[in-house]
């Protein structure tokens, strides 16, 4: 079975059933199930998420992007700082960056006050964190490749054409 195709199909629509996937991949349900189980075990498939436009769902909840300056530790580099940051459930993504600052922390679905509290009382005091700059997202246009509020142009196609 074409594993890359399986992953692509799931990435586009994680809600496809095993029967649908078997049809799409021209394979058997059993084969699909086994492959998915293995990909989960190998941590290739790391989770299934719903793309949510928080602007619409809850007026108070925001997405924040925090730039973090940090000092590396002998032998461990930035990993020990990262390990402390990722443990907080408020953190939805954490990246080590090239450039002017070390980490990008992304927080989703919290209120502005909650983000401020998290930065002040949890993130900034971490050993090795030298400074933070917090930016709030004003409006979301596209998340994970999904255009929010998209009007599909192909709906203007004629119903029957040669």
């Amino acid at each position: 079975m074409d594993e890359m195709m399986l992953l692509e199909a799931l990435e586009q629509n994680a809600r496809l059933k095993v029967t649908d996937l078997a049809d799409i991949l021209n394979s058997s349900e059993d084969e699909v199930r086994k492959t998915i189980d293995r990909l989960k075990k190998d941590k290739v498939i790391c989770g299934y998420h719903t793309v949510i436009n928080w602007d619409k769902a809850h007026k108070e909840k925001v997405v924040a992007l925090i730039e973090v300056n940090a000092t590396p530790e002998r032998d461990k580099g930035y990993d020990s700082v990262a390990e402390q940051i990722v443990k907080y459930p408020e953190v939805s993504s954490l990246y080590l960056m090239s450039g002017k600052y070390e980490f990008t922390v992304i927080i989703k679905g919290k209120t502005m006050r909650e983000v401020a509290e998290f930065v002040g009382s949890k993130l900034a005091p971490i050993n090795g964190v030298k400074g933070t700059v917090t930016s709030f997202v004003l409006k979301q246009y596209k998340i994970e490749g999904v255009l929010l509020d998209e009007q599909k142009a192909s709906q203007t196609r004629l119903k029957v054409t040669p």
């Binding site: 649908d20 142009a153 029957v160 040669p162």
Partner: protein, 390 residues
């Protein structure tokens, strides 16, 4: 004056396309889910649209030369070399307003009254009427599902007469999704050479070939002067509305096309030509992304159709499935009308593509998996209501 009597009877009396009839019916209904469309559902990739916008901003809104932009014709030669290993010179490439203009040009430039053109039925709807309008005579080969809707040496041999001027091929094909291989063509090449036939090869779906690589009949050196390659940007790059096609042929043949094209068309849309230039140069990734999506949908719909009792083989190209509805005992038109009325699903009757299409329907899978899934569920309900599925 009775205007009707003063019209050219050939044009006036051409049969209405079977698709058009069905389109009129489907369009009057609400809540129809259609699998009747012959164009991709993807948006034209943004970088291609952006080039068209820049072209307008820069004021590239004048005529181009009759042949089309030289940069574009050179880019098409690069594309043909890169994708299919074929060598052409830009002087052999004529840009047309969609492959559709190309179809009309080849018949008008080559046919003399009474010349026969061999078409493969089921066939795309435009070929036969345009042969007739050009004064030629369409001769149909009935392709069979069992042989993957291919043309065999025996079929071709039987159809050739001393009037035969042209063989018209379209693989991957609309409406069947049939594909021919290098070996299949090799069988036909000696006959084509011996009888000095022109071969028009409509390969608009070339990039939508799912198993193995697309093989063009233009790759056979012994008949290379006789082959007219017809293609365009509509299906590979989701650019149907841009109307960008091209013909590639021997310079003398191109010259004859140009004589008509320069007066009837002048040149295709300049803005579309700039968009096509971007597509030909930087669109390979788009082609591959869309082809992969089509392949997944093809697998999904074919497995689904077989499960609900509409038996069909896995087509190897284009974005159509052509299942048999023989088991229902209905004609193609009955089946499609009943399905539309009963479950509001639009598919196209196979006989719209010639008599060899009777007993089949054309189903397009240029739709999202969710739309196909919904259509399959409705078709299953239809077959169950009618008692064809237990």
């Amino acid at each position: 004056m009775i205007v009707r009597d003063r019209l050219n009877p050939t044009a006036r009396d051409l049969p209405k396309s079977g698709i058009r009839k069905f389109f009129d019916l489907a369009n009057t209904m609400e809540g129809v889910i259609s699998l009747g469309v012959g164009e991709p559902d993807f948006d034209t990739p943004w970088h291609i649209r952006a080039e068209a916008i820049y072209a307008i901003e820069k004021g590239y809104t004048f005529y181009t030369g009759n042949m089309g932009l030289i940069e574009l014709r050179e880019a098409i030669c690069d594309y043909q070399r890169r994708r299919f290993g074929l060598e052409f010179d830009a002087s052999q490439v004529l840009m047309t307003s969609g492959a559709s203009e190309g179809i009309d040009l080849v018949f008008r430039a080559i046919l003399e009254p009474g010349d026969e053109v061999i078409l493969v039925s089921p066939t795309y709807v435009a070929y036969s009427p345009l042969v007739t309008l050009a004064g030629g005579v369409p001769v149909f080969l009935d392709a069979k599902e069992e042989t993957g809707f291919k043309v065999t040496k025996e079929m071709l041999e039987e159809a050739i007469t001393d009037k035969t001027k042209m063989l018209f091929l379209n693989y991957p094909g609309n409406p069947t999704g049939g594909v021919m291989t290098k070996e299949d063509y090799a069988e036909l090449v000696p006959l084509i050479k011996e009888h000095e036939l022109f071969v028009v090869y409509d390969e608009i779906y070339a990039e939508l070939t799912y198993e193995g690589k697309h093989c063009s009949i233009a790759s056979f050196d012994e008949i290379k002067d006789q082959v007219i390659l017809m293609s365009g940007f509509s299906k590979a790059y989701a650019m149907t509305g841009w109307r960008m096609g091209y013909l590639i042929a021997h310079p003398d043949v191109i010259h004859a096309f140009l004589m008509i094209h320069q007066y009837a068309q002048m040149c295709p849309s300049t803005i579309s030509q700039y968009a096509a230039l971007e597509a030909a140069k930087n669109g390979d990734d788009d082609i591959e992304m869309m082809a992969k999506q089509f392949m997944m949908r093809r697998n999904f719909i074919v497995n689904g159709l077989n499960r609900i009792g509409l038996k069909c083989h896995m087509p190897k190209g284009a974005f159509y499935v052509f299942p048999s509805i023989a088991a229902t005992g209905m004609t193609s038109e009955q089946f499609c009308e009943e399905l539309l009325k009963d479950q509001k699903v639009a598919v196209v009757p196979g006989n719209a593509f010639g008599s060899a299409g009777e007993g089949y329907v054309r189903i397009s899978y240029a739709y999202s998996i969710d739309e196909i899934k919904e259509a399959l569920a409705r078709m299953e309900a239809f077959l169950r209501n009618k008692g064809y599925l237990k």
